[in-house]
Amino acid sequence: MKQQELEKTSEYKYGFTTDIESIRAPKGLNEEVIKFISNIKKEPKWMLDWRLKAFSRLKNIKEPNWQKPKYPKINYQDLYYYSAPKSAQDKPKSLEEVDPKLIETYKKLGIPLKEQEKLAGVAVDAVFDSVSVATTFKDKLTEKGIIFCPISEAIQKHPDLVKKYLGSVIPITDHYFATLNSAVFTDGSFVYIPKGIRCPMELSTYFRINASETGQFERTLIIADKGSYVSYLEGCTAPMRDENQLHAANVELVALDDAEIKYSTVQNWYPGDKDGKGGIYNFVTKRGACRGKNSKISWTQVETGSAITWKYPSCILQGDNSVGEFYSIAITNNHQKADTGTKMIHLGKNTKSKIISKGISAGYADNTYRGLVDINKKAINARNYTQCDSLLMGNKCGAHTVPYIKNKNCSSIVEHEATTSKINEEQLYYCNQRGLNQEEAIGLIINGFCKEVLQQLPMEFAVEAQKLVGISLEGSVG
């Protein structure tokens, strides 16, 4: 038995839990629970009202079911909507005050906060379960007038900004999961970059799901004011679980005139075991608004984890000359399923979008690219280029490409290219003959396949992502 457990652990490197006592809201989804969350976050009344409004709307919205990967019905009354490490009651003033158990967890994950602070120049707003436990580099950012803090703190300290922008990209009633998030979101990051400021470091958050049966509902809001620039990194791992865990975050980005936001994600949540048992449901809503002229939003994602990945990081190109980009690698192995892509909504003149999607399926996995390019009547001279490449490993997996193109403007140009290929035995043989074992060879070929996307990631992330790409496909050819 013990041996078995050990083997299981070694399969998923980050599958461990820490035994910090959790404070939980009672099970179930109702007004009382929402009030509990709002109260524990010491929220003002307007925020609670906002949540309750979402909750009342939720009752009339149906869970969508048009996606390709189906999942067992979720009993929303059987989930906990709030859980926090006990030590977060007295928020630590510095890293030294942080519960050593937490720090140890991060170390196991390879995120030594202190070293990161010194070496990488990355400010980390770490989310452990639902509460932010440490925010670093604050002083350096404060100097520039940049706000980077947990959204719960922003609600108290910067209510005007939050009121103005929260829900302005993803409306409260957008769809079931977004509305659910609006009602019960626990924490997440808030970023505001003032006019003309170039954020001097990569902003980074590590999310982690820990307490069992806890749905995670993060809320992130990033605002880049006129002429500013920010690069934001998000990366996540989660401990091994038998029960499926729902993750329905909302991420909203707003770029004003001449501003640029680069949002990168490396997602490595527990994908379930080899037989498809367990694993995270990643139903995230990510949307960016290029509200100002000449603004730019760029999404880069490397998706290797989760049992089901269901998300479409999108750009609403409102401002004239604004640019939206989407670079994606979605790897599915064993019984993983992904239905992911993007939406590019062209509203302004001379708006441009670029979509590069690389889907890799192995084992029994099923991978769907679904994307919408929507060019409005007024989007004169809009331009889109889409490239979707799928790579299959073995003959039991699937790859699908479902592009939707709506063009209401005769001055625009839309291009779509798609390829599907199988990993080539001869290529593997060639690599093997040069002394690379099967795993190294696959890693190399896959990294080559994904190169255009990996290049978009910030340096320190790219190295990590390259390794992850190889690890995710271990044992899938043989």
Binding site: Y430, N432, Q433, G435, L436, A441, F449, E452
Partner: protein, 244 residues
Amino acid sequence: MLEIKNLQASINKKSILKGLNLTIKPGELHAIMGPNGSGKSTLANVLSGKNGYEISGEINYKGENLKKIPVDERARKGIFLAFQYPLEIPGVNTNIFLKTSLNSIRKSKGEKELDTLEFLKLIKEKSTELGIDEKILSRQLNVGFSGGEKKKNEILQMKILDPNLIILDETDSGLDIDALKIVAKGVNSSRNSKKSFLVITHYQRLLDHIKPDFVHVLSDGKIIKTGCGELAEELEKTGYKKLN
């Protein structure tokens, strides 16, 4: 170095090698010639350990039976095959491929892995020695390479990986005279008492530049004649038909 006894190989139930015997001692260079379809490339593939062949007989390399040893392990033990058609791997930088390969081999030998600077120095040295433009190394592996560039790249890889048993599978075909000379130079400068070569070729012209110790004629899966350098010249004049 290499001892092949009664080697038989078939693919999809089609018998290709039908009892081949060959012994190559350290320091020797053997050439194998033969008409199309005689099994030359199959021999190269089988020696490297390529999957898909039904094999009987013995292949001993440095006294070890290779039968159950997979391709990558054979490569790490010092067997190198210069491909007749080197594969293209899009998105993979040639330098990175070669560095990964070299370090994988060095690691298995218990040698220190090279860092980027040491590696680039080695690349520079070897490419200069062969007269190969090192620019090809910063391109994607074999992608968009001309036939000659691909073959030269194989020879450069051979120089860098420093194997013991080197099999050249028609490395000379499709080369112009300058590229041919680079290939020959690569081989000649590598010859020493610890390395052995098996050079598979259609034409005698490569053997003008590389002097073999032995020339074998392969026909219908068997070696039907063995001689020294003059045999190749003779074949050039008379063709294979007369031998049958």
